[in-house]
Symmetry: C2
Subunit: 475 residues, 2 copies
C-alpha cells in the first residue's frame, strides 16, 4: 500500500503516525469509501499544499467525503489509531493550513457541494462545506439575495468559515465571524454537533459557532454552514479613483469610515499593484495610489453616499471617480481587484509570493502604511500593496525567486517588521488569512503567554489526542 510508506517530504517530524496505524485506518475506511479513498502520489501531492509558498507536505491518504456521517466515520477511524486529520476545501489558503506536516488523512470536502436549503424569508442558507462562494451566488441569482464575503479565490464556504475569511465587502457586511449563523461540525471524537439554532441572536451558552469559525480545522471538521444572506441592493455603483499620493488615498478612507458612510467596498492599490493589475487583467488604470470603491443602496441613498465620498476625495486632491455602473463593467473592475494576487505573481514568471496580512485600528492605518512604504522603498524586494483599507487591513505581497536565499531572507525581514509594527499599533498579525504555519510564531506576541495558554487549553479539551490538523495555529 503506497500510503503506508512515510511521505519523504517530511522525515524530520518525529510524531508521524506509525505505518501500521495508517494501514489500519485505510483498512477500516476502504469498505466505506472505496475508490474515494486515494493513496495515489498525484492525489496526495495535490492535497499537500495551498496557494502559499509553504513547502508541500502530502498526507498519507486522501478521503473524498460525501456526507457528514462519512466525515464522522473517517474521524472516528483516525481517532482510534491516533492518525492526523486535515480538512481540505479548495486548497486556496495562504498560510500552509492544509499541509500534512504530521502526515495523516486529508478529508477532501469538495464532493460535499450541495446547497441544502435557501430560506429567502429568513435571508439565510444552509450549504455543505464544499460549496464555493461563487457557486452559492450563482445559485442565489433569482432570489434577490446574495452572499457578500469574497476572498480573492473562489474558496469553499467551509474553508472560509474555518479561516474566518473576509474580503472586499467586509467593511459593510462583516466577515465570516458575522456571516455564519450555525455550523455542523464533526468533533475530534467523531461526534456530530450543530453549533447553534437559526435564531439571529441567542444567549444560550458558550458561542460554539464563533469557537469553530477561525479554528482552521484544529478543533473539528466543518461539514455544513448556515449563512446570513443580504438583499441585492436596488443600486450598485462602482468607481476607481487615483490619488496624488498614498496618504491622500488613506486619509480619504479613514474619513469615509469616520463619517459613517455605509460604503460597501473601499480598496487601496499602490502604483506597483495598479501596474501589475493593468498588465495581468488588460486594464488601463492610471498608475497611481488608487481606490476601488463600491456603493450599495437605494437610488437616493447611493447618490448621497457618492456625493459625500467624492467630496472627501476631492479635498485630498483626487480628480474624480471613473464609474462602472453596469454589471459587466463592475465585474471587470472587481475581477481585476480579485486577481491582484495572481497579477503580482505574474510580474516575475517562476516567482513565488508571500503576503502580509496585518490589520490595525483605522486611526493608525495611514501611519502603518506610510512606514511600511518607507521600508519597501529602501529595499530591493519586488512588492505590491493592496488592502481592504476600510477595515484597517492591507497586504504587502512579496514576489521572490524561491531559489534565492537572499530574496527570501529579505521578504521575511520586511514581513516581520510589518507584523511588529501592526502589533505595536494594537493591530493583529492576520486580518483574514489565518495562522496556519506562517503566523504561529506571532500568536504569543499578539495574545500574550496567558492568551495563548487559554487557546491551548481549549485545543487540549476539544482534541485531547491532538489529531485535528496538528502542527497548525496553537499546535
Amino acid at each position: 500500500m503506497t500510503a503506508a510508506a512515510p511521505a519523504t517530504a517530511c522525515p524530520a517530524w518525529p510524531d508521524r503516525p506509525a505505518d501500521a496505524a495508517i494501514r489500519a485506518v485505510l483498512e477500516a475506511l476502504r469498505p466505506l469509501l472505496g475508490a474515494r479513498l486515494s493513496t495515489g502520489q498525484a492525489v496526495r501531492d495535490q492535497h499537500g499544499h495551498d496557494e502559499s509558498s509553504h513547502p508541500s507536505q502530502p498526507p498519507d491518504a486522501v478521503a473524498f467525503a460525501e456526507t457528514t456521517e462519512e466525515v464522522a466515520a473517517i474521524v472516528r477511524a483516525c481517532a482510534a489509531h491516533r492518525v492526523p486529520v486535515i480538512a481540505f476545501g479548495t486548497g486556496t489558503a495562504l498560510e500552509g493550513q492544509v499541509t500534512a506536516v504530521h502526515g495523516g488523512v486529508c478529508i477532501d470536502l469538495s464532493p460535499m457541494n450541495a446547497i441544502l436549503e435557501v430560506r429567502p424569508e429568513d435571508m439565510d442558507v444552509t450549504v455543505q462545506a464544499g460549496v464555493t462562494r461563487k457557486q452559492l451566488n450563482a445559485h442565489l441569482r433569482d432570489t434577490g439575495l446574495f452572499f457578500p464575503i469574497d476572498p480573492g479565490a473562489d474558496a469553499s464556504l467551509g474553508g472560509m468559515a474555518a479561516t474566518r475569511a473576509s474580503g472586499t465587502n467586509a467593511v459593510r457586511y462583516g466577515t465570516m465571524r458575522e456571516a455564519v449563523l450555525a455550523l455542523t461540525v464533526v468533533t475530534a471524537s467523531g461526534e456530530i454537533v450543530r453549533t447553534a439554532r437559526r435564531a439571529r441572536k441567542s444567549s444560550a451558552g458558550y458561542d460554539l459557532t464563533r469557537l469553530f469559525v477561525g479554528s482552521e480545522g484544529t478543533l473539528g471538521v466543518i461539514t455544513e454552514v448556515t449563512l446570513r444572506l443580504h438583499g441585492i441592493p436596488e443600486r450598485i455603483l462602482a468607481a476607481v479613483c487615483p490619488f496624488p499620493n498614498l496618504r491622500a488615498a488613506v486619509d480619504t478612507v479613514i474619513e469615509t469610515i469616520q463619517s459613517g458612510v455605509p460604503i460597501a467596498r473601499i480598496e487601496l492599490l499602490d502604483p506597483d499593484q495598479v501596474r501589475a493589475v493593468n498588465a495581468y487583467s488588460k486594464t488601463d488604470h492610471a498608475v497611481a495610489p488608487t481606490l476601488f470603491l463600491e456603493f450599495h443602496g437605494s437610488e437616493t441613498h447611493t447618490r448621497e453616499q457618492v456625493e459625500m465620498v467624492e467630496a472627501l476625495a476631492a479635498e485630498h486632491g483626487a480628480e474624480g471617480f471613473r464609474w462602472a455602473a453596469s454589471l459587466e463593467d463592475r465585474n471587470r473592475l472587481w475581477q481585476a481587484r480579485h486577481d491582484a494576487h495572481y497579477a503580482g505573481l505574474a510580474m516575475r514568471p517562476g516567482a513565488k509570493g508571500v503576503s502580509s496580512d496585518v490589520c490595525v485600528p483605522i486611526s493608525r492605518l495611514a501611519d502603518c502604511i506610510e512606514e511600511t512604504q518607507r521600508d519597501l522603498a529602501a529595499s530591493p524586494a519586488t512588492t505590491t500593496l493592496v488592502g481592504h483599507v476600510g477595515d484597517g487591513n492591507f497586504h504587502v505581497q512579496f514576489v521572490f525567486d524561491p531559489d534565492n536565499a537572499e530574496e527570501i531572507a529579505e521578504a521575511k525581514r520586511l514581513n516581520q517588521r510589518i507584523v511588529e509594527r501592526a502589533l505595536a499599533m494594537d493591530g493583529t498579525c492576520t486580518g483574514e488569512h489565518g495562522v496556519g504555519l506562517g503566523k504561529k510564531a506571532y500568536l504569543a506576541v499578539e495574545h500574550g503567554a496567558e492568551g495563548l495558554a487559554l487557546m491551548r487549553a481549549v485545543k487540549q479539551a476539544l482534541d485531547p489526542l491532538g489529531i485535528m490538523n496538528p502542527g497548525k495555529m496553537v499546535g
Copy 2:
C-alpha cells in the same frame, strides 16, 4: 466572623466550601481590601439575587474590587482554597446569574466604573466592567458617538458582555456579540488575559472574545470591555403605530426586515402591555397591538425608510404613525418601553415576574406569537407580551403571586410550552437574558447532548476547579 457560618438559605447544596476555606480566603484578602471586603448580612443579602424571582442565595462575602489586579488577587485566593467566585455588576440579570448557589465570594465590580479611553477616530472605547450603559452614553454626549445596546435596565457593560445582552437597537446595531471588540478577563487561575487587539477583524487564533461574551462568569471575570461605538445619526425619528390585530403588526415587522430597511428599532407590545405601560408611565397609547419604531439616518435616507415602512403598515390596516421627533419626546417614548418590565409587575402589587425570552427565525415569528397568544388566552395567568420582534425575539412576562403555588405552576407550564415551541421552530430558549439557573434545563435540548458536552469540556478546561460561578449554565 459572620461569613464563616454557612448561609442558611442554601443548606441543601452539598458542595459548599468548608468554613475553614472561607475563613482562609477572607484572611488572605483582608489586608488587600480592608473595608471593601464585607461579610455583613445586609450586603450579602443585597448580592444574593438579581431582578428575577429566583430565590436569593447570599454569598459568604462580598469583595468590592477597584482594579483588574485586585480581581486577579481575589480569584487567586479563592482558587487556592476552592472557594466559588461570583462576579456582580448591577444585579439586574433575569435568570438568577448572580445567586451564590454554592456560597463563595461575590466580586462586586461597581467600583470599577472608569471610562478608560474614548477613541473617537476609531469609534471605540475601553471601559472598566462596572461602567453602566447610561453612564457611558452620558460621557460620550459631546463626541457625536453613542453606544446602542440597551437592555431595559441600566446594566453594567461587564454584565452585559457576560450575558450577551441586547435590547431594542439590536435589529440594526447587533448584540454584545458584535459590539465587543476585546475584553480583559481574569481567568479561573487568576491570570489576566486580554482577549484581542483593537483591529476590527482578525484571524489570529480562537475567538477568545466571543468565548467569554455570554459565558456568565463561568469561565472568568470580565474586568474591562472595549466596545464599538456608532455615530449619532443626523436624523432620528421615533413613532408609535397601533394595529387592528397582532398578526398585522408582526407581518409588518417581517416585511420590514425582509425588505432590507435598516430600521433602528421595531418593538411589539400586546394590548395588555400597552395598558400596563399607560398606567405605569402615564402615557395614553391606544390599547391595541402596537409597534414602537425608530428610524436612523440622513434626512433623505430616514424619510425613505419611513415611507417604505408606513406603506407596509398601511397595507396591514394600520391607521398611521404617531411621531416623536424631539429628543424629549423620543426619550419619553423609549423610557416607557424600557419600563415595560416594571410596568408589568406594577399591575399586581406584591407580585413577582418571570419573563420568557425565546427568539425564532423571522419567518416563524407570527406563528410563534399567535400560538403563544392562544395559550395565554386560554389561561388564567396574568401576562404581558413585548418583543424585539425585528430579531425574532419576544418576551411573555408572567406576573404571579409568589405565595400561590397554582399560579407559579401555571406560569411554568406556559413558559415551558413557549420554549418548546420556539425550539421546534429552530429558535433558541433565550435571545438575550442568558441561561443562569432558569434555562439550564433547556441547554441539552437546544444544543443536543454532544453540543452540551463540548461546552462542558470548555468549562472543564478553563475552570478545572469549578470555582467560577458554579451551578450556572453548564454546571
